[in-house]
């Protein structure tokens, strides 16, 4: 059977200049933790789900998206509360300002571009013109740095005291959604939270890096958002 990627719409809210916020499992789970916190705090409405035969039922990529209940990004069909579901990308809507929050999921190697393009299809249909991607970075630098689809956006971030700081590759779902956005006339900024790599468990959660990025996002978008309560920082 040919691979297939499709979106199931649950609601089509009226949106006013919506901003997209995107995150996915990855380095120290910074993106995933931040998106999960936004969903749990802002209580947004689930408006669409992306399914794809490219979303893996088990992980074979390296670094893996650890299929352990201790770490985010469980692969395969999930079973809980007398129900079941497939791996998917979820899209939520939250107001003030209008946002589409995309909870990403990594496709297999051959499907990453197709899934990212489909995500951008939904953003274009929703008339998204600006997008914020959240991820981690493991280099020396500020607690939060940025990258953007254009030099203008880098300048704009300076007004929020966020500077460029990471140089190198940006893998997977969030990287491609970010990069391809430039070809679809969506202005994108990626906020990278500084973290330390964990070679044994690349996605071992770093809630401190996620919190630092959320704090910046809250400032930039003027969000009414309670930040995660964390004990005194003892990073691992």
């Amino acid at each position: 059977m040919a691979a297939k990627t499709w979106i199931r719409y649950l609601e089509r809210p009226e949106l006013r200049e919506p901003v997209a916020v995107v995150g996915s499992p990855g380095l120290r789970s910074v993106g995933k933790l931040a998106i999960d916190h936004l969903i749990s705090e802002l209580k947004p409405t689930l408006i669409a789900e992306l399914y794809s035969s490219h979303l893996p039922l088990f992980h074979q990529t390296s670094p893996s998206y650890a299929p352990s209940p201790e770490f985010p990004g469980e692969p395969g069909v999930t079973v809980a509360h007398n129900s079941t579901d497939l791996p998917k990308v979820e899209f939520y809507h939250s107001s003030n300002p209008d946002q589409i929050i995309a909870r990403g999921y990594h496709a297999n190697f051959h499907g990453q571009y197709e899934v990212a393009e489909k995500v951008l299809d939904l953003f274009k249909e929703s008339r998204v013109e600006r997008m914020f991607v959240i991820a981690g970075y493991a280099q020396e630098g500020e607690a939060v740095c940025c990258a953007a689809t254009s030099p203008n956006m880098i300048e704009e971030m300076k007004r929020h005291s966020v500077e460029k700081g990471y140089e190198g590759p940006f893998y997977g779902f969030s990287g491609l959604v970010f990069g391809l956005a430039a070809l679809r006339d969506i202005k994108g900024v990626c906020l990278f939270g500084r973290t330390k790599p964990n070679l044994e468990y690349p996605e071992y959660p770093d809630p401190y890096a996620a919190k630092a990025v959320l704090e910046k996002l809250r400032q930039i978008l003027s969000l009414d958002l309670k930040l995660p309560d964390l004990p005194e920082e003892t990073r691992s």
Binding site: P151, P169, G179, C190
Partner: protein
Amino acid sequence: MKIISHKEPKLRSPSLVSGLPGIGYVAKLSADYLRTQLNAELFEEVYSPSFPPYVLIREDGTVELLKNEFYFWRNREPGNDLVIFTGNVQAVTPEGQFEVVDEVLRRAEELGVSRIFSIAAYVGQGRVDVPRVFGAVTEPRLAEELRMFGVLPMEEGSISGTNGLLFGHAKLRGIQSVCLLGETPAYTTPSGQVVVDAKAARAVLGVLTKMLRIEVDMAPLEKQAKLTEEFVHRAEEIRRRAVEEMRRAEEREIPRYYV
């Protein structure tokens, strides 16, 4: 595959030079050097889902997708114009490589390309002091022409990836094609980093510019080739000393209790 065309250049009997990243970055460095020195103009970008799934964040903080690019250059002298095909990646699947090559050949036919020069690397055995340039051709009569430029025939072997496929597939489409392979030791650092082989690129461009009858300032590449040579020499010396030290340590540890 997504293609973004910026221009439809009208060219005078162009030749096409192709070089994508591969062993020692010989092909990419050669193509990039040529387009930079000639100040060639970008006219088409190719994006493929068969490229690896990542993007690059540049030093200035902006994002760059993996892509292949076409450039053109108008020759002010009586010779041929040029199309240069290069990029920051090769498609990783055979299907993707065929798709990209199909697009290059479609464009080549549309632009009236008379000959394709595909650049690749030839992995030499051991140390490479003066890199040789090997050649492969789609028509026997081109072999004689290569010999005149001091190119050694590649008697047998295979040329992997898009650089090889473009050369081979051109034959099926009836386009004259030459593959120039720069000899490289394919040196990697102890940490696994590929050393960009400017010496091999200089050797290839030395031949290519003569065949194309174009003048290119080679001084910056000469400088880079010198740095490559020094770097490889130093790294080899460190490696030689480490091996020597290990050998001595092993000798010291010879058990003396057996009879």
